[in-house]
């Protein structure tokens, strides 16, 4: 598998570290239900069969955190973007 790093180009998947779901966001720690929200943020994940936005870290490259949209059934990668990029 190769991932097209926006800075480094097509690179082998070995250069990257996988984290997981990129759609979860760190909850507001001041919110009244923060305990539950953090529990869900830390532990609960969907396991979709299909396109999945996930975080990869280019550890052996530019140290960018990337959002990779990957089809979990085929490993086909639809898009790769720097995290936070529009």
């Amino acid at each position: 598998m190769q991932i097209q790093c926006p800075y480094c180009g097509d690179r082998d998947a070995h250069e990257f570290a996988y984290l997981g779901d990129a759609t979860v966001t760190r909850p507001d720690p001041a919110a009244p239900d923060a305990a539950r929200a953090f529990y869900e943020y830390v532990y609960l994940r969907d396991n979709p069969a299909g396109p999945h936005k996930e975080l990869w870290y280019h550890s052996a490259g530019c140290h960018s955190w990337l959002v990779v949209t990957r089809d979990t059934r085929t490993h086909a990668i639809e898009s790769v973007a720097q995290v936070g990029a529009p």
């Binding site: 305990a35 830390v42 975080l55 870290y57 085929t74």
Partner: protein, 991 residues
């Protein structure tokens, strides 16, 4: 007795190669395989079967071979289960037959065949069910001795293996007519082409048949095609290379056998090379595998695939038989009759179960002088370990006619080699017109050509190659000129399915390598194991190293007929990588032992080595563990000396391995506040603070000190082990969680050499090193201060007043390139004070004496409170892990928490890993209160001390518990105490 034909074949008769099989000297020629050379030497018997020890001959001429498995080479290079049909003959080759005792021809364990009712399908499950204790002691050793394949060499592999990457526009898998044509077409269009074939000569079936293409022989045409391809610089030709797996995004795994055709690999070359080929498009032209017919004794030595027999006669000029029978249910098998007649190999009899055959075949049989049984079948074959003796022919009218023959060529049709289309989840589909499975869907970018796609004739193979080669090149961005397919021989199939002959009297085999018979399948059906997956697992059909390439479809068809269903209704078997076995060594490549694992040396390594330091691996780093002095015979003596020297004088330790992250920007302090449990934005410039960071789930991730060098400039240190992990975490926090923060960071671990100078004389030592007018007095540089310094006449560095040992201590950082020299300078400066170098052991002893938690305590389950760091957790700000750290389970006062331990009997030795249980409590898991995490002999206290995590730890000082260690027979009483054993007030730090 030689069976080498006097002329013909693609062997080099000008040279003779000597080899030995089971010690017997034989000869062959370049161009031979071990199998063809054995046949040329008149050898019929090649091995014994897995379960029944039945004598087996050579069945095929390719990588689908189930029978002729040998141990190749000797000593450390001995490799078991190597297919004689794929071993390229070399001078001096040595091979041994397998699974026989005492000899291949006379095998005592063939009595297994007599007790075969015991060995039927599911015999493991039925026979050896109980008592359970008998498994290990009796059944398993018994089965292991009786059943099995070759012996592995138990020595380290002396060869090496390599990994390589390749990229191309068009990958062509298989260099038969379809593959060569596809490669030619794509290459002519300008595409970068890689052409792989598992054989050592390109041509595929062209090498084994009497074809003509454009007026040339098939072999001439293949050779010319290979020459044209070789002359194209954009083409890479890979012979002896099996594409064994298809993976994501057009990636293919291929194994190149670089040195397997040589006695030993050439100097500086690997034995095998593992290729990862990334192709924009791929054409699978892997051909097809001929399948057998299931009849009695179909596994007898002398029974062979018809296509294999033609390979031996046409390509290798070796005659496997002198009185041959041909048993075919299709036109293709009749080529055997024609080719044998041409090569003067006598065909005695032809049996074709089809009720009517073309007139041309009748004439062919007559010309060959063979008796023809139209509508007939072979019910049984008889023979011994020395070969086939006769067959029973069941005629169209139901009579049984015995015929004396010494060889039988059988053809039950062809199975397209679709394995690679299945590796990404494709399922083969059945085609009634071919009586075969073809690819049911292909991975993106892969097209199937020729016989692999069910095109069982040469013209269509060539046309497929042109069409799919052009399509692949065009899809990769090239313009392909369309050309007409070359003129080629005509072929027909005319197959009438025949899977199993009814009325066999003797054992009829479906899977030769795993000894699965037609009866086993019937038994599985009777016992309800009818689904394909059950059938496979119950009988082990198709589960051997050949993955049932010649067997699976027959097994499926027999099950279909037993259940009255069609073959597609019965199911299909899919294929997983690898297509043929791949040595683990090839997957590992150079990633073996220390190769490709960097060894990181500390800046003062050379100096430490000169001192005779004992080194220890910590992660990738090699660190000095202790520095033995002359006369010191055990490590403890050296370590005690080093600790005492530091506590009473001064010592130096290279601590460069700690991770260092340089953090800069207006928001650097804010980011640190969110990463650490304590506050760093309020830290004064020129000060250092100890910090701990949590994972978001509330567990401690790492700890270390961070210095503020300027308003917008911090330097963080991490533990050696977690340096990369913390860097990744920091980048995560910045890029993912809080991208709005204006901050930048970079790892500077390797840029700085850092030395801990510790002990009452540390300041005196350093005072001799720093360049004037620097002032490092207690007033100018108090505890937890940091300052820029220059040392040794102009080396600019930093001096941190921090202490891990609990003594007056500094850490001096200089650019890494000065590390070796500065270490020597520190030793010289401290000589008057009796300075010692100390290693990681002494470092560890002193941190235990001071109760500092380290890796053993930061064990991935401990919280900040568990480690006594609860008070550091800021209430005024948010930080990673804050919310989750408040979960009830993590704030339970009964959680194991850090405490110190002393043996009640001071002479007792403590052991890390011992579990705490109450005095007098029964030593069961229920009474477990925690465990000892770190221990050391304290030279300062002259007895063993320990740190541990125990329920309610800090509230139980003075209480006694047992440190229970049944594995090492330890059960001693210990007293719970403060984890700080030395200088609990910290007075020594501040002098």
């Amino acid at each position: 007795m030689t069976s080498r034909l006097p002329s013909g074949g693609l062997i080099d008769r000008s040279r003779t190669l000597s080899f030995r099989f089971d010690g017997k000297p034989m000869t062959g020629n370049p161009g031979d395989t071990l199998a063809s050379a054995l046949i040329a030497n008149g050898t019929v018997l090649a091995g014994r079967s897995f379960k029944y020890h039945r004598p087996r001959g050579i069945l095929t001429a390719g990588s689908e071979e189930p029978n002729a498995l040998v141990e190749l080479r000797t000593g450390a290079r001995r490799e078991a289960n190597t297919k004689a049909t794929t071993i390229e003959l070399y001078d001096g080759l040595e091979a041994q037959s397998q699974n026989r005792w005492p000899s291949l021809a006379f095998d005592l364990l063939s009595v297994n065949s007599l007790v075969s009712p015991v060995f039927v399908a599911g015999f493991y499950y039925k026979t050896f069910m109980w008592p359970a204790a008998f498994w290990e002691k009796l059944y398993e050793p018994l089965i292991r001795r009786a059943a099995g394949l070759g012996r592995a060499s138990k020595e380290p592999d002396p060869d090496h293996y390599e990994k390589a990457f390749a990229f191309c526009d068009v990958l062509v898998i298989g260099a038969g007519p379809a593959g060569l044509m596809a490669a030619l077409t794509a290459a002519r269009a300008g595409a970068r082409v890689i052409l792989c074939d598992e054989d050592f000569t390109f041509g595929g079936r062209l090498l084994s048949e009497q074809f003509s293409i454009d007026g040339q022989s098939g072999t001439e045409w293949a050779a010319a095609a290979a020459v044209e391809l070789a002359q194209n610089p954009a083409v890479t030709l890979m012979r002896r290379t099996t594409v064994f797996g298809g993976y994501d995004q057009g990636t293919y795994g291929a194994l190149e056998r670089v040195g397997d055709h040589l006695p030993v690999p050439l100097p500086h070359t690997p034995r095998q090379r593992m290729w990862k080929i990334v192709a924009k498009r791929a054409v699978l032209a892997a051909g097809a595998v001929e399948r057998q017919i299931v009849f009695g004794g179909n596994d007898r030595p002398g029974v062979m695939m018809a296509s294999a027999l033609r390979s031996y006669v046409n390509r290798f000029a070796a005659a496997p038989a002198r009185r041959l029978a041909v048993f075919t249910n299709n036109d293709d098998g009749w080529k055997t009759v024609a080719d044998c007649a041409r090569a003067n190999v006598p065909v005695e009899v032809v049996i074709d179960p089809r009720p009517a055959i073309p007139e041309a075949f009748r004439q062919l049989a007559a010309r060959a002088g063979a008796q023809l049984f139209e509508g007939g079948q072979v019910s049984d074959a008889y023979g011994t370990a020395h070969g086939l003796q006769s067959i029973d022919v069941l005629t169209a009218t139901g009579r049984t006619v015995p015929v004396s023959v010494d060889g039988l060529a059988m053809s039950g049709g062809w199975n397209p080699a679709v394995a690679l289309t299945c590796h990404l989840g494709g399922r083969p589909v059945w085609r009634d017109d071919l009586s075969a499975f073809v690819a049911g869907g292909t991975p993106p970018g892969l097209a199937v050509a020729g016989a692999a796609a069910g095109a069982f004739d040469l013209r269509r193979c060539l046309a497929d190659g042109i069409r799919l080669g052009a399509e692949a090149a065009e899809a990769a961005g090239f313009e392909a000129a369309t050309s007409a397919a070359p003129e080629a021989s005509d072929e027909t199939l005319g197959l009438m399915p025949l899977w199993k002959v009814a009325g066999a009297r003797t054992k009829a085999f479906v899977d030769f390598q795993n000894d699965v018979t037609a009866k086993d399948i019937a038994l599985a059906e009777r016992e309800g194991f009818r689904s394909v997956e059950h059938l496979k697992r119950y009988t082990t059909l198709g589960m051997a190293t050949d993955q049932g390439k010649t067997a699976n479809v027959n097994g499926l068809a027999i099950m279909a007929s037993l259940t009255g269903k069609s073959i597609p209704e019965t199911g299909t078997t899919t294929f997983r990588p690898p297509y043929t076995p791949v040595a683990i060594g090839a997957f590992a490549g150079h990633h073996r032992e220390k190769h490709f694992r960097p060894t990181r040396l500390t800046p003062s390594h050379a100096w430490a080595a000169e001192q005779g330091a004992i080194f220890v691996e910590t992660g990738q780093w090699l660190r000095a563990q202790w520095y033995p002095k002359p006369g010191e015979t055990d490590w403890l003596t050296s370590v005690n000396r080093e600790v005492t020297a530091v506590r009473e004088g001064v010592g130096v330790c290279d601590v460069s391995t700690l991770g260092k992250i340089d953090i800069q920007g207006p928001d650097a302090g804010l980011l640190l506040d969110r990463v650490y449990i304590n506050t760093f934005s309020a830290l004064a410039v020129g000060k250092v603070r100890y910090g701990a960071m949590l994972r978001e789930d509330g567990i401690v991730m790492d700890d270390g000190t961070t210095a503020r060098l300027a308003d917008d400039h911090y330097l963080m240190s991490t533990t050696t082990a977690n340096a990369a992990k913390v860097m990744q975490h920091m980048e995560f926090c910045h890029q993912v969680l809080w991208p709005e923060l204006d901050v930048q960071m970079v790892s500077v671990t390797e840029q700085w050499a850092q030395f801990s100078v510790a002990g009452p004389r540390a300041r005196d030592t350093l005072a001799k090193l720093v360049d004037p007018p620097a002032d490092i007095s207690n007033a100018a540089l108090p505890y937890m201060g940091v300052t820029d310094v220059a040392v040794c006449g102009g080396i600019r560095g930093r001096l941190f007043r921090i202490s891990f040992s609990g003594e007056l201590a500094y850490e001096l950082a200089v650019p890494a390139r000065y590390g070796n020299g500065v270490m020597r300078a520190i030793m010289a400066a401290g000589a008057d004070y009796g300075i010692v170098a100390y290693g990681t052991e002494a470092l560890g002893v002193m941190r235990i004496e001071k109760g500092h938690p380290a890796g053993n305590e930061l064990n991935g389950t401990s919280t900040a409170r568990d480690l006594g760091l609860g008070k550091m957790m800021s209430q005024k700000k948010d930080f990673v892990g804050r919310i989750m750290a408040e979960r009830p389970g993590l704030t339970d006062p009964d959680r194991p928490a850090l405490a110190g331990f002393k043996p009640v009997n001071r002479a007792d030795r403590l052991r890390a890993g011992a579990h705490f249980i109450g005095v007098g409590a029964k030593p069961v898991a229920h009474h477990d209160e925690g465990y000892m995490t770190s221990v050391a002999f304290s030279p300062s206290l002259s007895h063993w001390i320990g740190l541990g995590l125990i329920k309610g730890g800090p509230n139980r000082y003075g209480e006694r518990v047992r440190a229970y260690d049944p594995v090492r027979k330890g059960d001693i009483e210990v007293e719970i105490c403060s984890p700080v054993f030395v200088d609990p007030e910290g007075a020594r730090l501040r002098v």
